[in-house]
Amino acid sequence: MRRFLRPGHDPARERLKRDLFQFNKTVEHGFPHQPSALGYSPSLRILAIGTRSGAIKLYGAPGVEFMGLHRENNAVVQIHFLPGQCKLVTLLDDNSLHLWSLKVKGGVSELQEDESFTLRGPPGAAPSATQITVVLPHSSQELLYLGTESGNVFVVQLPSFRVLEDRTISSEAVLQWLPEEACQRRVFEMVEALQEHPQDPGQILIGYSRGLVIIWDLQGSRVLCHFLSSQQLENVSWQRDGHLIVTCHSDGSHCQWPVSSDTQQPEPLHSSMPYGPFPCKAITKIFWLTTKQGLPFTIFQGGMPRASYGDRHCISVFHDSQQTAFDFTSRVIDFTVLAEADPAAAFDDPYALVVLAEEEIVVIDLQTPGWPPVQPPYLASLHCSAITCSHHVSNIPLKLWERIIAAGSRQNVHFSTMKWPIDGGTSLAPSPPQRDLLLTGHEDGTVRFWDASGVCLRLLYRLSTVRVFLTDTDASESLSAQGEEEWPPLRKVGSFDPYSDDPRLGIQKIFLCKYSGYLAVAGTAGQVLLLELNDEAAEHAVKQVEADLLQDQEGYRWKGHERLAARLGPVRFEPGFQPFVLVQCQPPAVVTSLALHSEWRLVAFGTSHGFGLFDYQQRRQVFVKCTLHPSDQLALEGPLSRVKSLKKSLRQSFRRMRRSRVSSRKRPPGGTPGEVSLGQPQPNSLQMQTAGTKAEQTGLQNMELAPVQRKIEARSAEDSFTGFVRTLYFADTFLRDSSHHCPSLWAGTNGGTVYAFSLRVPPAERRMDETVWAEQAKEIQLMHRAPVVGILVLDGCSIPLPEPLEVAHDLSKSPDMQGSHQLLVVSEEQFKVFTLPKVSAKLKLKLTALEGSRVRRVGVAHFGSCQAEDYGEHHLAVLTNLGDIQVVSLPLLKPQVRYSCIRREDVSGIASCVFTKYGQGFYLISPSEFERFSLSTKWLVEPRCLVDSAKIRNHSHPNNGDSIGPEKIVGRARNSGSQHDGEGKLVAGLVQAHLTRSLLPAGVLKEIQSTLEGDRG
């Protein structure tokens, strides 16, 4: 019963653990899932995005980010910054208002909710009476005007949200001032627009949905003038000098009305329907902006011809003779125009258009002719094609980093040179201590290289593997370039493109060697591409090799997809990673594991049928090994034969979900199930059941017939997919005897088998002359037969073997070859250490048998101490199927810490997790967002930024080039260092990551060091 005993409580170790491990979710990268509202503060130069799940995110200069979450899980409908303050008001779809503020604490700004408020009408009033449709923060900084569905405008005082009932502008009050002809049928209409006079804070404009617009005098409580249009009103824009208003309507027209208090204008000055004459959709929002040059900008959303372009999501910009309808691939949520913020300036002079679409944010430079887009430094649409895999590489050498950036910059020539216009706040975070790359593989056959060093996840380079293959889309490529003289003048913008030409192109595994610049990429149809970084464009043929993983196994038929047809002959590749070898597995099943050893110039790949080794120096296949169990028919037939069962299981799980929802609703609200005493009838449950729809009930009955049950059965050798190769690993170790070490390749399968091959790699000088050969040296069958998810060799000092070329580049000590090596095999259920070369079990940790969780991801990480500069330990970072993250010590396999990280139901989140080499990690919280977490006390990448309300600057808008004020240049030097690495600003090596660390007194350090030594001794 030893194993049930708790490990001894060692206070020194516990203290050390606190110095090594700490769990933090630090920052969310990517684009918010399901955005629902956009806000912008011209004075703070900060952008806010609200989501349907009640989150608000604020973005300023790169590195300046804030996130807040409403307690209610309701969609954010509107966001309004209060003029001249570090505060904002959000409106949720439950009609509640929330006041948030950025407060400075300890030198860093924090976003927090101060107050919340729901507008209540008198008892008995219809709910629509207080349903807020428009919010106007008044420039007096203490009043909020709230337009409602009933047509009344309520006034509340901030920050207390006190309703000033005497100032309410009721529709009846407005009616008194209107002439007879305007009064008819215009009583119960909702407020569509509320605007403050651009020059005179004593006047506000109220627009009602049926077409009436009035200007209200706040002091005199009277209508100054009114405008009556024949069409439903959608929105209003007030010219900067206040002399003109522009209204937009549901029929796709917009009208201009001159404002003067003495004459009442029955007819608009000018009315136009930009995409007429056929019926058009509504223009839902319009901006009318003046320029120094004279001609104004008209920017509006919608208004497209209903029949032919009604399904497009467009923002149109009209200026002078330039007219463009920016066409987005996803629904436009909202947009805003960045213009001169100084109220004293005579013209708007818009410089950028910011469009929040459902799946991405697009910023258009309005100053450069042609209106090119600006590349955002953050808010990247990670999911422009669905992410299929990810791979993280820590500590990239400067040389490779620069080459990747250079290759990427050539892909970005279509972007504007404008500086990122949203640049409020100051990032105080220290510059990232090292350069990290996150590589994401996508469904459309691309690999994206992201700068994951700091808070901003920035796209560096995009690699497409499609050119290697012949695809159906090639023929239609010429068709897409259509005539220029098209009306409406549509122009596609944005990168979101969820449609994959061919699912077989999807990337499944990526392996980058950061020292040599070799990259291996493997995909859905068994393709393995080897790529080399080349700074020049080149045209060459890709060597094609077929790897027959079934070898001479007879009588099997692959029913899955065909392999991809490769292009014959030379192909032109742009500068960057260029493919030179294509290995295609036969049968073309998805590649499930990949390993590259750049020192030996070997690449190993595995599928559900077996694995192979390829020598990319000599471009020759070394061997293939079939791992199939003869009875595993399912693996042989390919994925198609499983479609039915997948569908079935999906259906079942949906039913199950519904059932669990129903059953959970049966519980009385608020009380724990334990409080229900037996035998007492539960009125709640009865009510709920009758309230449930009939469909649900029948579903429930079906489920009662087949309850959720699980079969308890030991795994046998005959189970399906036992041959599925889960992991591949290269190691230079003692495979045959304890006196000679040699290169080796290790492969672990789904059925708990580990194969070890000893390799003979010729020395470098004869590398081209002699062949590499391999022979099987060992085969280990784990008796518990759980899938092998990780293999690792520890050297004589129990330290994981270094990566290839790491020692050659002097970045790691040579591994200890004197002491005996150990083999660590991680299966989904157990961690097991074996001695080498005689593979006898030495230690194990049974995870599943003890707690019922299974290993989903495992990675080796180096944990540095936050107290002692050069102290660190190597451990295993483990993610389980329950979403817990654990640290398991090496080599003794003692669980160190455990944190719950991901919800256990979030299967895709768990599947997407990657660990870095320094105790951080990433996982997808939505298709478009990575959550970054840290297990280490030392390596913490999180936003630290300051937004100072006292120093709200009177910005001049940035021009193209460097006409930025001197004060600003100082503030941004740090950012430009981290963003544009060309200057070599980044310090190589391990710079301290935490500011607080240097503040510790020396005595504390000494004490910690002594404990560390004591622990080791």
């Binding site: 019963m1 030893r2 049930f4 070898q551 001479d552 296949q621 070394v622 061997f623 293939v624 090994k625 079939c626 169990h629 003869p630 199930p673 334990g674 229900v676 005493s677 037996l678 309850p707 959720v708 049950q709 699980r710 079969k711 308890i712 059965e713 030991a714 795994r715 050798a717 045959r736 088998t753 062949t771 050969w773 391999a774 022979e775 099987q776 040296a777 060992k778 085969e779 280990i780 069958q781 784990l782 008796m783 518990h784 759980a786 259920e829 157990q830 097991k832 005689k838 593979v839 006898s840 079990a841 599943t848 048998a849 003890l850 707690e851 019922g852 969780s853 299974r854 329950l882 256990r904």
Partner: protein, 382 residues
């Protein structure tokens, strides 16, 4: 070796419905055949065996190796019939002089478990007495037992399932449910895990110790409270080689009967609880703590291509040679099969010891009846 010969011979006998018998006495082998469909009487078989071995004047016991490599006795018509019909395709028969024969040598793992010798010696006296009175429990492989009766509440039952060497599936299903607990605040409903179904013919059903709607409380000493159905499933499967489940049986009738007795006595009644008791008495002797700890099955390690002749030609297609390299060596094959049939109870070390003895003198291997070395056909399953 002469593999092809064996194979063809086997096939020929198989075709005409005959069972090839390989009988071993000491170091001597005899081969003969029997009709699979009409094996005849045990008495005749006994006469035949002693005749072929020319040991008519000695009292012998006869045993055979079953498909799991266990040595089982042949001493009546029924088990003789079973032995012949289950021979696949070869029937290996072992003969021992009766005075030498230890009646305890039959049973599960008898062909592979060597470390149990100590146990045998210690329990010898006790066992002989046990042998006299009732039946011969050692003729049977334990498949399940009730353990820890002395420390558990009487409403609970801790059942150990031995899947070791047994071809039967564990064979049960579990589900979510709610159970009622007595607490200081009264009765409370709490979620629980229940046995939902038994697979007919499965190990769980055949023991009779588990039943549908029994609540599962612990798996191998770990409480399942607060764990999800999937977690409990994973725990049970991870422990499936030696599964110990603590249940609260849905049928509490037997417990009430038992509690009315003075505790600790081995039952004399005729109800099922009593039979459990006798089983228990037997098994508890077997379950010394050492065995509880060594429940782990050892992993199989195969050293591939150690001999120089197996190194494939450096040029050409090394891949295909490689895959076959293992298959051709008898030592390797023996090793695999041994590993297969050793039922994983030994440590790796003992496998290696076995292997080295095999290598040094092939005839040595005859002492150990190697479970189906050549006969398993070309497909080697691991």
């Amino acid at each position: 070796m002469n593999r092809s010969f064996h194979k063809s011979q086997t096939l020929r006998f198989y075709d005409c419905g005959a069972v090839e018998v390989k009988s071993k006495f000491g170091a001597e082998f005899r081969r003969f055949s029997l009709d699979r469909h009409k094996p005849g009487k045990f008495e005749d078989f006994y006469q035949l065996v002693v005749h072929t071995h020319h040991i008519s004047n000695t009292e012998v016991t006869i045993g055979y190796a079953d498909v799991h490599g266990d040595l089982l006795p042949i001493n009546n018509d029924d088990n003789f019939c079973k032995a012949v019909s289950s021979a696949n395709p070869l029937l290996r028969v072992f003969i021992q002089k009766r005075e030498e024969a230890d009646h305890y040598s039959f049973g599960a793992g008898t062909l592979s478990r060597k470390k149990k010798v100590l146990v045998t010696l210690r329990d010898e006296g006790l066992r002989r007495r046990a042998h006299l009175d009732i039946s011969m429990p050692h003729d049977f492989r334990p498949v399940s037992s009730i353990i820890d009766v002395d420390i558990l509440p009487e409403t609970h039952r801790r059942v150990r399932l031995y899947r070791h060497g047994c071809e039967k599936p564990l064979g049960f299903y579990i589900r979510d449910g709610t159970s009622v607990r007595v607490t200081p605040h009264g009765l409370e409903k709490v979620p629980g895990i229940f046995i939902s179904r038994m697979v007919p013919g499965g190990l769980a059903e055949s023991t009779g110790l588990l039943a549908v709607n029994d609540e599962v409380l612990e798996v191998n000493g770990i409480e399942v409270a607060g764990k999800t159905l999937d977690q409990v499933t994973d725990m049970m499967i991870a422990n499936s080689h030696n599964l110990i489940v603590t249940v609260k049986p849905a049928n509490q009738r037997n417990n009430i009967v038992r509690s009315s007795r003075t505790s600790g006595s081995s039952g004399q009644s005729t109800d099922s609880a009593a039979s459990h008791h006798s089983l228990l008495a037997h098994d508890l002797q077997n379950c010394h703590p050492d065995e509880m700890e060594s429940d782990e099955e050892a992993d199989i390690v195969i050293e591939g291509a150690l001999e120089p002749q197996h190194i494939p030609k450096p040029q050409g297609a090394p891949s295909s040679t490689l895959s076959r390299a293992n298959g051709t060596s008898l030592v390797d094959r023996l090793h695999r099969d041994l590993a297969l049939h050793s039922s994983g109870r030994e440590s790796n070390g003992s496998i290696h010891r076995l292997l080295s003895s095999l290598k040094s003198d092939p005839r040595n291997s005859l002492i150990l009846p190697p479970g189906g070395v050549e006969e398993h056909g070309p497909a080697i399953t691991l």
